[in-house]
């Protein structure tokens, strides 16, 4: 493979010099560069680098802004940020200033220039500049000249031309203007289409119109015919509906994988017509802001419920120990580790979705100077297979690849550049196989087999009663098919870490994860190495959400460290993480639900088809959990559910917060609102009539734990002040506001059939701290602060006496996985179990030294105190105690037990559940079909709140992840390849997408005798967000989107069809 040519950078001192550097054939593919932000995105998309960049940054005369004689002159090297802030631009061209505010993000605007935005010919500033009649000052091979932007766009530019300045007439006071960029989320988004429009007016008369569209894949263009038709018209008499139609016909815009050309044309026409008219047509007939009748029945707030906010919970608001170093930048993540002799690892990915491997030749890579180790399937000493449920995924593919991110080889070299060059030297011969792109296709009779066992990874059935009888007796039946996305976890720290061989020959692997001892078990199988020769460190990690539950880079790191004998680090780039990492299993859920005339549920039939991707990972568990939540918190006597999980070549899927429950809750809670509409009941009333009574069995017929809080959560939703907020048409006429709710019901733990070990250890360390060791992981959720809280509460010592030790198989005992909303319980239960014995041992040890009776002593903050004393005086500090005891006499108590489960064996059933209700107030945009969440309220009941801030964080963070799932996130695939390569097109919610307000409430108590303690908060936050938003959209416009992320085009069409 050819060596990538080296890039050089030339620094001309003048325009003449610069032109000379690129003017002829001899100058090759040289390109001008100013901010050079866009060119780097091109490289990331795989476009070739030029032979040289010609830096325009040191040429005098390209900077500066002038405002004189009615014209603005903007030097081409002016940063985009200056367009937003410069007073002259804001005064003379407010349209341009407003438009610049929508280009990229603030920090990118400090780098990118107006010249670059124009020169790239796809920039978001082109529509506004076209509408503003901008001219370009250009320095070409024959010297300077001036050209209208519109003309320049209409011709192929000479590659030697340098745009030196943009010149535009100042806007007059007598004009009406609008601009809008329609994207994939609220801000910092690629452009779907951008518009700008200006009407020069004299009183009521339109003197001239200038309208333009463009941006992204839409060719920038003026809409001259429409402009002409507007000139001379009366503003008051203008037929805006016709204008909208004319604009739609005039605008040219192509389809892509994100939005259709029709959508682009529609929203551009809407934005121009509405922006210039001041309001959309049909507004007069729309209901204005109003408050619903439910508001009249407002009861007092739920007794015992607290609002989670610092100002209301001062006494329970603690600083988490990991936060100051995180904010200071001194917190050490596993991917931050560097050591002098450390090699850099890189993994070769398949790059093709389905193929047989004919040969892998690594000789050239091995021969490259600086390469220390190359590993392939031939280097796997044990089973070349892993997977939490079934071991179907190779550590390194040997005979075939099943998805684009499959690992084929890995390299460890002296630096990253050498490792990357070595990857390019590995030759893999593939014979491509037909690609299976949908679960439906996977299950067809003639489908190519992805695994030898067939494409049906799992089929699950459950039924109770007789659905035929149920449906026959029904007064109302609703049926729909709900489709959910391939959501990406999007943890900020991509998969990575380091590994090394210890002096005793054992292996240590440091990679962020969610269950160290299971990672160790899986590595042990792959490496044929006893578990006690492997140490796995999994904490801390920069976010996981289920996406680090399965093995990620551990096999490659371990094999590279073993083969090289040296420490190796490896972290996936985001692009590689997108390609290789697990995603949420996309699901198609067909749900048919029946009720009687009073709204009582009679029967439900559910059929789920889930995409496993290439490997099962936890997909079978996700499917099972989805089915277990098919009835939600309701009683339905006659049910039939079927679930199928199919292998495809669509990446790979696995655990993700919610784990199937949030997908199913979306379907079910939409069905409930549909039935309520049919019956003429409120959303609250239909739920009340069907709510599972306390003590009734769960969906599968299993026993469930006490302290059920469904009635309370429904009451909290009913009495929410949110219902009193305005809805209907917004004041400016561009949005329709609605309110919706959904119940939230989330199982905790791994279920009745799966081993679910738990445990922890308390011990007095030599330095006098009380070490609380758990094999759980701090992923950001607040494990450490929860440990401090739980252990100090149980022991009576101070929070700072506790030193949490987590996520290290060498230092902490087995606690089970940090998944399935189980961590908080394990922390609390272990502390509760170990504390009495540990406290007694501490008191006895102290008693011996103090010549006192142990029964007269107790643990207090800082040390041991007199049992009956409340002075705070210490008889002995923990430090003194530890110093006085030989190591073997320092107290240490380890506990081990199973996570609570029931005895149900016919299926995998949860015993413990957490409860909630979610309400959303949304605004549906009439121009774009986009949905904006204005207010989000979560009522939750998950037992005692161990740490207020951590619990609040889980609910808020889960909610916004849910908003992403609902409105913007999908890792789109086509023919087994990701269309989305990075965070430029995968739309994680940004700060502009977060609701204006979020209010989180918790009802913390337990029934008398309930000793199951805190329930999990990790998944409750995302559980019911999607249906609450869907139901709010339906409240606003009468259309309930059955597919997430919601299609703005479908929403627009639904509004268009509104009576």
């Amino acid at each position: 493979m050819a060596e990538e040519p080296a890039l050089s950078v030339l620094h001309p001192a003048s325009l003449v010099d610069a032109v000379a550097m690129v003017r002829d054939e001899a100058t090759g593919t040289r390109r001008y560069a100013a901010g050079a932000t866009a060119i780097q995105l091109e490289w990331a998309r795989g476009l070739a680098k030029p032979s040289a960049l010609v830096d325009l940054g040191h040429i005098p005369g390209l900077a500066g802004i002038t405002a004189e004689q009615g014209y603005l002159g903007i030097g081409a090297s002016t940063p985009l940020a200056s367009l937003v802030t410069d007073r002259r631009i804001r005064a003379a061209s407010p349209l341009l200033a407003a438009a610049a505010r929508t280009v990229a993000g603030p920090a990118v605007r400090n780098l990118g220039t107006i010249g670059g935005n124009v020169a790239g010919r796809t920039g978001c500033l082109l529509p506004p500049l076209l509408a503003l009649n901008a001219e370009l000052d250009i320095f070409g091979r024959n010297g300077p000249f001036r050209e209208e932007l519109a003309d320049w766009l209409g011709r192929t530019a000479d590659k030697a031309d340098i745009i030196t300045a943009i010149r535009l007439p100042a806007m007059t006071a007598e004009c009406r203007w609008t601009q809008r960029k329609i994207g994939l989320r609220a801000a910092f988004t690629p452009s779907i289409i951008g518009v700008a429009g200006i009407l020069d007016i004299d009183g009521d008369r339109i003197l001239a119109a200038r309208l333009a569209v463009g941006g992204g894949i839409v060719r920038p263009m003026r809409l001259r015919a429409v402009e002409t038709s507007l000139a001379g018209q009366s503003l008051a008499a203008c037929d805006w509906q016709k204008l909208r139609h004319d604009l739609f016909c005039a605008i040219e815009a192509p389809d892509d994988d994100f939005r259709s050309g029709r959508y682009r044309r529609t929203v551009a026409a809407n934005a121009l017509a509405c922006g210039l008219a001041g309001a959309l047509p049909k507004s007069a007939e729309m209901p204005g802001h109003h408050s619903p009748s439910a508001a009249s029945s407002l009861a007092p707030p739920l007794p015992g419920e607290i609002r989670l906010a610092r100002e209301e919970q001062q006494a329970r608001w603690f600083t988490r120990p990991d936060l100051p170093p995180k904010v200071n930048g001194t917190f050490a993540y596993l991917t931050d580790h560097r050591a002098p002799d450390m090699l850099v690892g890189r993994i070769l990915r398949a790059g093709v979705p389905h193929a047989s491997i004919l040969a892998i030749d690594t000789r050239a890579a091995e021969a490259l100077p600086g390469v220390v180790a190359v590993v392939t399937h031939r280097d796997v000493p044990g089973e070349n297979a892993f997977g939490i449920v079934v071991q179907d995924q190779p550590a390194f593919c040997g005979d075939k690849v099943r998805y684009v991110g499959d690992a084929v080889a890995a390299v460890a070299a002296i630096d990253a550049a050498t490792a990357e060059r070595a990857l390019a030297l590995i030759k893999v011969d593939y014979e491509t196989l037909p690609v299976v792109t949908t679960p439906e296709q996977a299950l067809a009779d003639d489908a190519p087999a992805i695994h030898a066992t067939g494409n049906l990874q799992r089929i699950l059935h459950f039924s109770r009663g007789d659905i035929e009888t149920g449906f026959a007796a029904a007064a109302h039946v609703v049926e729909d098919t709900y489709v959910t996305p391939r959501q990406m976890h999007g943890f900020m720290e991509t998969e990575g870490g380091h590994a090394r061989i210890e002096p005793d020959g054992s292996l240590a692997v440091f990679v962020g994860g969610q269950h160290g001892s299971r990672d160790r078990l899986q590595l042990s199988r792959i490496l044929a190495m006893p578990e006690d020769r492997i140490r796995v460190v999994t904490s801390p990690t920069g976010g996981a959400f289920g996406g680090k539950d399965e093995l990620t880079v551990q096999p490659a790191l371990a094999l590279l460290a073993i083969k090289s004998g040296r420490p190796v680090r490896l972290q996936l780039s985001r692009a590689e993480s997108v390609l290789a990492g697990t995603k949420r299993n996309p699901m198609t859920i067909r749900m048919r639900t029946a009720c009687d005339a009073d709204g009582r549920l009679l029967a439900q039939e559910v059929d789920v088809l889930a995409d496993a991707g290439a490997y099962a990972s936890l997909g079978p568990g996700v499917l099972e959990t989805a089915l277990e939540h098919a009835g939600g918190p309701y009683v339905i006597d006659n049910v039939s559910t079927r679930g199928r999980l199919a292998y495809t070549n669509n990446g790979t899927c696995g655990a993700f917060r919610g784990f199937g429950a949030n997908q199913m809750t979306y379907a079910l809670e939409c069905q409930m609102d549909r039935l309520a509409e049919r019956c003429g009941l409120t959303p609250v009333e239909i739920r009340r009539r069907n709510l599972k009574p306390v003590g009734a069995p769960g969906y599968l017929g299993q026993d469930v734990a006490p302290s059920e809080r469904l009635t309370e959560m429904l009451l909290a939703a009913e009495t929410s002040p949110l219902w009193r907020q305005p809805r209907g048409l917004s004041a400016d006429g561009t949005e329709i506001v609605g309110i919706g709710m959904a119940m939230n019901y989330q199982g905790n733990g791994l279920g009745s059939l799966v081993p679910d070990p738990a445990g922890g250890r308390l011990s007095l360390s030599g330095d006098g701290t009380i070490e609380a060791a758990y094999g759980l992981d701090e992923m950001g959720q607040g494990l450490l602060v929860t440990i401090q809280s739980a252990v100090s509460t149980e022991l009576g010592c101070g929070r700072n006496d506790i030193r949490p030790v987590t996520g290290d198989t060498a230092l902490a005992p087995e606690s089970g996985s940090t998944t399935a909303s189980r961590g908080t319980f394990v922390v609390w239960k272990s502390a509760q179990m170990a504390a009495p014995q540990f406290a007694r041992a501490i008191c006895e040890a102290a008693a011996g030294l103090l010549a006192r009776n142990a029964n007269d002593l107790r643990l207090a903050p800082g040390g041991i105190a007199e049992r009956l004393s409340n002075s705070g005086d210490l008889l002995m500090t923990y430090t003194q105690l530890a110093a006085a005891l030989p190591p073997e006499e320092r107290p240490s108590v380890t506990v081990a037990y199973e996570f609570p489960k029931n005895s149900y064996t016919e299926g995998n059933a949860r015993y413990i559940f957490a409860f909630g209700a979610c309400l959303a107030r949304v605004a549906v945009n009439r121009l774009t079909g986009q949905v904006r969440v204005l207010d989000l309220v979560q009522h939750t009941a998950a037992g005692p709140v161990m740490d207020v801030a951590a619990y609040l964080g889980q609910m808020e963070g889960g909610a916004v992840q849910g908003i992403g799932f609902t409105l913007s996130e999908d890792a789109v695939m086509k023919e087994g390849r990701y269309i989305t390569a990075n965070l430029d097109t995968y739309m994680l919610p940004g700060i502009a997408d977060t609701p204006q307000t979020m209010r989180i409430h918790a009802l913390g108590g337990l029934d008398a005798g309930d000793d199951f303690g805190p329930r999990g908060a990790g998944e409750l936050g995302i559980g019911a967000v999607t249906p609450a938003i869907a139901n709010a959209v339906a409240d606003a416009i009468g259309y309930r989107p059955p597919m997430s992320p919601f299609s703005p085009e479908a929403v627009l069409d639904a509004m268009e069809a509104m009576p």
Binding site: A107, N110, T319, T994
Partner: protein
């Protein structure tokens, strides 16, 4: 053609002169983390779309992953490690910690840099200003409200300090 040509890169980092050799297109984010051992700034997308690598370049926030070695020369870079030089940063960190602003924390240094620039320029920043200034910084854990609360608290603390300083007749 020479393989892997490198250029000398000289700049100021956190007030101190720095010099290293790098390929012209090497990103500043990589120079900081892998050449200079400054690991506070993170790389989470590598294409300027997440803000985890935000640093100050000639006093304005930029994505270090979009700044190439050839663009660094002669500039004044402040990484998260160098923010102690800014009086605002102390209040920002305090406000963010008090409001439990972050969870996994991987995005935190980038947010602190962006907020330092904001409050340095506008100590009276309100929620709308904060939201606008943070549009380029992604956080996957929190849902942003805790960060907004922390930033508002920081602004409050900063204003308080300014008032106290004004009353005491000394500059902050």
């Amino acid at each position: 053609m020479t393989m892997m040509p490198t250029i000398p890169v000289t700049f100021r980092l956190n007030g101190m002169p720095q010099a290293c050799m790098a390929k012209p297109e090497t990103r500043l984010s990589e120079i900081l983390r892998d050449h200079l051992g400054q690991s506070a700034s993170k790389t989470a997308c590598g294409i300027g779309r997440c803000g985890a690598c935000t640093v100050l370049k000639d006093s304005v926030p930029v994505n270090a992953c979009l700044v190439m070695a050839w663009q660094v020369g002669g500039s004044d870079i402040v990484s998260p490690e160098g923010l102690d030089a800014f009086p605002e940063t102390r209040f920002i960190r305090q406000g963010l910690v008090e409001e439990a602003a972050f969870q996994c924390g991987y995005c935190a240094p980038g947010f602190v840099v962006a907020l330092t620039a904001l409050l340095r320029d506008n100590p009276h920043a309100g929620e709308a200003d904060i939201r606008a200034a943070l549009e380029g910084n992604l956080c996957r854990c929190t849902g942003y409200h805790s960060i907004i609360r922390g930033a508002l608290r920081a602004a409050g603390l900063l204003q308080q300090a300014h008032q106290q300083a004004a009353q005491a007749g000394r500059p902050t």
